[in-house]
Structure formats: structure tokens, C-alpha cells
């Protein structure tokens, strides 16, 4: 049985459907990210699990028991907010011990567990500091310790790292992942940052307009996007127009690729920039004119225009010649690197 189950979860604000009949099962110990642009319903979903937003329809079950009818302060969930939401008038130790105090844990036991939590997040010796005297990263650690010390059934993370600068964010990602692994708490992360979702999660739930677009492991969602939205939201991608012959073959310019499951007529393919290569002389390919190139250190990013649409390709900085602006090249890719997108004609 799944640990957490969202069953047809729905929330409307007036005429706007924020979350639309969402179904999701999360296994014990799993790290799942809700990823999507702002307004996609990911935060509302988290708030419904936490109990701060009422559920309009559908259910939430934790270990098979209904969670919707449980008061938010009885759910026993740990939450970490983007704004940290530490109690500014309490010290680090008081902040972390708050949840234990609410559970009537005895003072010696409380002190012991608070200390262990501070050690877990690397804040030993900060017990008597006030939050305003700490950096953003340190405050975030306090928030994490405060949420974990109560041994929550679920850890809910609401954009926990977006207030940190890029370098610190990367560090905290690694640490967060490692801490989650070591304590084994089932974790739901809400984020709009695809890199964060890919770096941290076991599975990613891509959401758009209150609906789930795709659920899958990070590499699966990246390599095999189920929709044009997922393809464009996760990393850079090229959406190319092709024509199916109805017999499992697709033509993109001069390039003809075997794509089982492709229908007849116009269709759309998603290909990652790093999977496009330049065809050898005489090989069939998609003709494209280079419009511009940008040097990125490890690689070049080239923008080009082809009959199948505008596209971006990547050339490694490996000493080989890089096409210049105005040049015409023939591009190719393997059928395995193309994802067939549902939904008719090219944009």
C-alpha cells in the first residue's frame, strides 16, 4: 500500500480550478517533487496536504487513513517554507524544541532530541542564537531541523531553497538529499526550479494548470517528455514538425526516421539540443541555417532555422570546427532520441 495517496484531489477558487482531480501515490521514503510554473497548483496541493487550504473534492490518505478530516495541528507533518517562517522571538533551540514541547516531551528528552537535530543539519553550537542573527542558509537549516525533530510522517518542502543564492542552493541541495536519505522521511518538494527537482527527486510530478502532465523519474521525464509542455519546461528542447506516413516512419525534411507508434500526417517531435548532430557529407539530414552562436565554455549553443521549425543545438568545445553564422548545415539525430509529442499539427 502506498504511503500517501491523493485521490481526485480538487480545489477551486471561485471560477478558477487551482487543482483539478489530481491523483498521486507516493511510496514510503520516496522523494517526490511537484514541479511546474507559478499558478500550476503545486503549492495549493501542498497546502491541502498540510491542511491550510480546504479540499473541495477528492481525498488525501496517509497509510490508508483519511487525512482531510484531521485538524492541521494533529497531522504530524513537518513543513519547511521558502520564507523559513522561524519564530523570530525564540532562539534556535527554542524553535527546534517547539514541536516537541507541543507533544509534551519531557525536558531532558527534548534537549537531547533538539541537540541531535541541530547536529543533523550541522548547526551544533548555535542553540542560543536568534534567527535574525543568522544567514539565510543557516535559517533554512533551523527550519529543516524544526520540521524533522518531530519525526514527521511526511516532510513538506515549499520552495525551500529559492531564497538562497545559486552556490549555496547547490550545496544545500546535496545536503538536503543526504539528510532525507539518512532519516528516510517521505518528502514532497514543491518547486519551479527544474534543476532542483531533477537533482533531488526520486520522481518528478510535472504540473500545469492544475493538472498532472507527467509523473516519472527525472531522467525519464527529461528524455521521454509526455507532452510539449513537459518537453519545453524541463531543459531546452526543440519541437520539430514532421510528417508520418502511417507505417511507423516519420519524415523531417530529408531525414526519415523509424518511429513506431507515429500516426499518419503532421506530427510533433521533441529533440534535445545535445542530441542533434551535424550529418556527414552525403548523409540525409535536416537542412538548417545557423542564425547565431553563443560560447558557453564547455560548449557552443547554436540557434538555427530549418523547414521543421526554429531549433537550438549544442556543439561540444572539443577542438572541432563550429559552424558560423549564415552557414547552412545538415542536422541529424537518432530515432531513439526523439520523443513523439501528442497533439496534431506543428505550432
Amino acid at each position: 500500500m502506498s504511503h500517501l495517496v491523493l485521490d481526485g484531489l480538487t480545489k477551486r477558487f471561485g471560477g478558477f480550478t487551482a487543482v483539478d482531480a489530481m491523483n498521486l501515490s507516493v511510496e514510503r521514503g520516496e522523494f517526490v517533487s511537484l514541479l511546474g510554473p507559478s499558478g500550476c497548483g503545486k503549492t495549493t496541493t501542498l497546502q491541502m496536504i498540510a491542511g491550510f487550504v480546504d479540499v473541495d473534492r477528492g481525498g488525501i490518505r496517509l497509510d490508508g487513513a483519511d487525512l482531510v478530516s484531521v485538524a492541521p495541528n494533529k497531522r504530524g507533518l513537518g513543513i519547511v517554507f521558502q520564507s523559513y517562517a522561524l519564530f523570530p522571538h525564540m532562539t534556535v533551540a527554542e524553535n527546534i524544541a517547539f514541536g516537541l514541547e507541543m507533544r509534551d516531551v519531557s525536558k531532558p528528552d527534548r534537549d537531547k532530541r533538539t541537540l541531535a537535530a541541530m547536529e543533523l543539519v550541522g548547526l551544533k553550537g548555535f542553540a542560543d542564537r536568534y534567527p535574525r542573527r543568522m544567514s539565510g542558509g543557516q535559517q533554512q537549516r533551523v527550519a529543516l531541523a524544526r520540521a524533522l525533530v518531530i519525526k514527521p510522517a511526511l516532510l513538506l518542502l515549499d520552495e525551500p531553497l529559492s531564497n538562497l543564492d545559486a552556490k549555496l542552493r547547490e550545496e544545500m541541495q546535496g545536503e538536503l538529499r543526504q539528510i532525507q536519505r539518512s532519516v528516510g522521511t517521505t518528502t514532497i518538494l514543491v518547486t519551479h526550479d527544474q534543476h532542483e527537482a531533477m537533482a533531488l527527486s526520486d520522481r518528478i510530478v510535472v504540473m500545469n494548470q492544475g493538472r498532472i502532465e507527467q509523473i516519472g523519474a527525472p531522467d525519464q521525464v527529461y528524455d521521454r517528455p509526455a507532452s510539449a509542455f513537459v518537453a519545453s519546461f524541463l531543459g531546452k528542447t526543440n519541437v520539430l514538425a514532421g510528417t508520418g506516413d502511417g507505417q511507423g516512419s516519420v519524415a523531417i525534411g530529408d531525414l526519415v526516421l523509424p518511429l513506431p507508434g507515429a500516426g499518419k500526417g503532421p506530427l510533433q517531435l521533441a529533440v534535445r539540443p545535445e542530441r542533434l548532430s551535424i550529418a556527414a557529407a552525403g548523409e540525409p539530414g535536416l537542412e538548417a541555417r545557423i542564425l547565431g552562436r553563443v560560447f558557453q565554455g564547455t560548449h557552443w549553443l547554436l540557434s538555427a532555422q530549418s523547414a521543421a521549425g526554429a531549433l537550438t543545438l549544442m556543439r561540444g568545445n572539443d577542438g572541432a570546427a563550429v559552424p558560423t553564422e549564415g552557414e547552412t548545415v545538415r542536422l541529424r539525430f537518432n530515432a531513439a532520441d526523439a520523443a513523439l509529442l501528442p497533439g496534431g499539427a506543428a505550432p
Binding site: P72, L77, H89
Partner: protein, 266 residues
């Protein structure tokens, strides 16, 4: 930070002098040995401070004023806290009307309020009582209490309360342990401002006070209608000294800039 230019410094200096000079002169005059308002040219004398004790009605009025200020501002703040929290976080029908209603005593001239209360209290039979005085003072000080508590309430991050709830705190615990401490600077400064305004109120109180319930400012007002002597300066000097002591104590306890500006001591 940019330094002030000389003209700005002169302006600020004049401004401060203009604010403080009257207070200073009253205090100096209080030490005069003469029988009329004058600067003490023959050395300071405590004659008029001793004279206060010959007028027990001043002492009684002072005590009544303190009680009145404490009671009315405490009740006002107890009304202001829930009202401010409701106004700051919820959108409900009548929200604007409620805000305006609470603020309206600021807009109505106190003379008008005085006459209205006099008429109304006579009607319901509490004219000239201390209860009537307290009720009327609650009404006039509530805008000050509400303003400051409201400002503090708007500044609260709801997620801090959500964090407390998620950690197992019930409604009353969240209020006691999280919400109230967060708005405390607003509550204390709102209470203080309300108490000062109540203590200070003359225009309205003059209509409502009866011989049995005369506040200190009204007593002083009535006194100078008959006599102009340094006694009133001595009473004023005592008030200024007590206010200064109170502010000093509060600054030591909480930090005044934190109370009124909300910037915190760091």
C-alpha cells in the same frame, strides 16, 4: 549615510528648540519663589511644589486620571487586538465599515463628542460617573490602539503561524506563543499611545466630568480659570518629570525606537 548640511542642521536645531523650549520654561518657572508666573531670579524655590499638597483635589485628580488612562487603554487594546487581526487577515463583508467605525473618533471633534456623551449618559443614567468617563475614553483612544496593532498585524508572515500549527500548536497556543509575541511591540506602543491620549484628554472630558470625577487636566483647566499662579507650572513640571522617567524606563525595557518605529534593537 549622507551628513546633514549646515542649513539642515540649523533647521533641525531650531525645530528641536521650538519643541522643547516651552517644556523647559514651564519647568524653570515652577521653581520660582514669587507669587506669579516668572523666571526664578532670586534662586530656586520649592514653594509651589509644596503648595501642591495643600490642594488634595490635585492629588485625587491625578490618581483618577491614572486609573482612567490605565483602564480605558487596557480595554481599548483588548478590543483592538482581535479587531486588528481580523481586519489584517480576512476579507469579510463590513470590513471597511468596521475599520472606519473604529477610526471615526479621530474624525469627530472632541467638543462634539463631549456634548454627545453628556446627553447620552444623562439619558442612560450614568452621567457624572467614573464608568461613563471610562466608556467615553475607550472610544476616543481606540483609534490609536487599533492603528498601531493593525500596523503590527499586517507585518506578520502567516506562514510563521502555519509552522506553529504544523508542529502541533492549537489555536490558543498559536496566539499565546507566536501571534501575540510577534505583534507585542504594536500592542505595547498602542497601549502607551492610548494611555497618553486618555491622560491628556481635556476637551471632551470637561463636558462629562462631574465634581466627583475630575481628571487632572480638567482640574488644571478649571484651576487656571480662577488663578494664574506658579502652582500650575509646578504640577506641569511634575508631569513632565514623570513622563520622562516612564519613557526612560520603557526605553530600558523594550527600546523606544523598537516600540514606535518597529526597527528592533537587532
Amino acid at each position: 549615510m549622507r551628513r546633514n548640511s549646515p542649513p539642515a542642521l540649523i533647521f533641525h536645531g531650531l525645530f528641536v528648540v521650538f519643541m522643547l523650549a516651552p517644556l523647559l520654561i514651564v519647568c524653570v518657572v515652577a521653581f520660582t519663589p514669587e507669587g506669579y508666573l516668572s523666571l526664578p531670579t532670586r534662586g530656586p524655590s520649592l514653594r509651589w511644589f509644596k503648595a501642591i499638597f495643600d490642594y488634595p483635589e490635585f492629588i485625587r485628580a491625578f490618581r483618577d486620571s491614572l486609573w482612567l488612562a490605565a483602564l480605558s487603554s487596557t480595554i481599548a487594546i483588548m478590543l483592538a487586538v482581535p479587531a486588528a487581526l481580523a481586519i489584517a487577515r480576512y476579507r469579510f463583508p463590513g470590513r471597511e465599515a468596521m475599520t472606519t467605525l473604529f477610526m471615526s473618533p479621530l474624525m469627530v471633534p472632541h467638543v462634539v463628542l463631549g456634548i454627545a456623551f453628556l446627553r447620552f449618559f444623562t439619558q442612560i443614567g450614568i452621567s457624572g460617573t467614573f464608568v461613563g468617563l471610562v466608556l467615553s475614553h475607550i472610544i476616543v483612544v481606540i483609534p490609536f490602539a487599533l492603528r498601531l496593532v493593525l500596523a503590527a498585524s499586517y507585518g506578520i508572515d502567516r506562514r510563521i503561524e502555519h509552522a506553529a500549527i504544523s508542529l502541533g500548536a492549537g489555536t490558543s497556543t498559536v496566539f499565546r506563543r507566536v501571534t501575540l509575541p510577534l505583534i507585542l511591540p504594536g500592542v505595547v506602543s498602542g497601549w502607551l499611545l492610548a494611555a497618553i491620549n486618555s491622560f491628556d484628554e481635556v476637551t471632551m472630558t470637561v463636558f462629562i466630568a462631574s465634581p466627583a470625577t475630575v481628571t487632572l487636566p480638567v482640574r488644571m483647566f478649571l484651576y487656571i480659570q480662577d488663578n494664574i499662579d506658579p502652582l500650575i507650572a509646578a504640577v506641569s513640571a511634575c508631569l513632565i518629570a514623570m513622563t520622562a522617567a516612564l519613557l526612560f524606563a520603557l526605553d530600558r525595557l523594550f527600546g523606544l525606537d523598537r516600540l514606535f518605529v518597529g526597527s528592533g534593537k537587532g
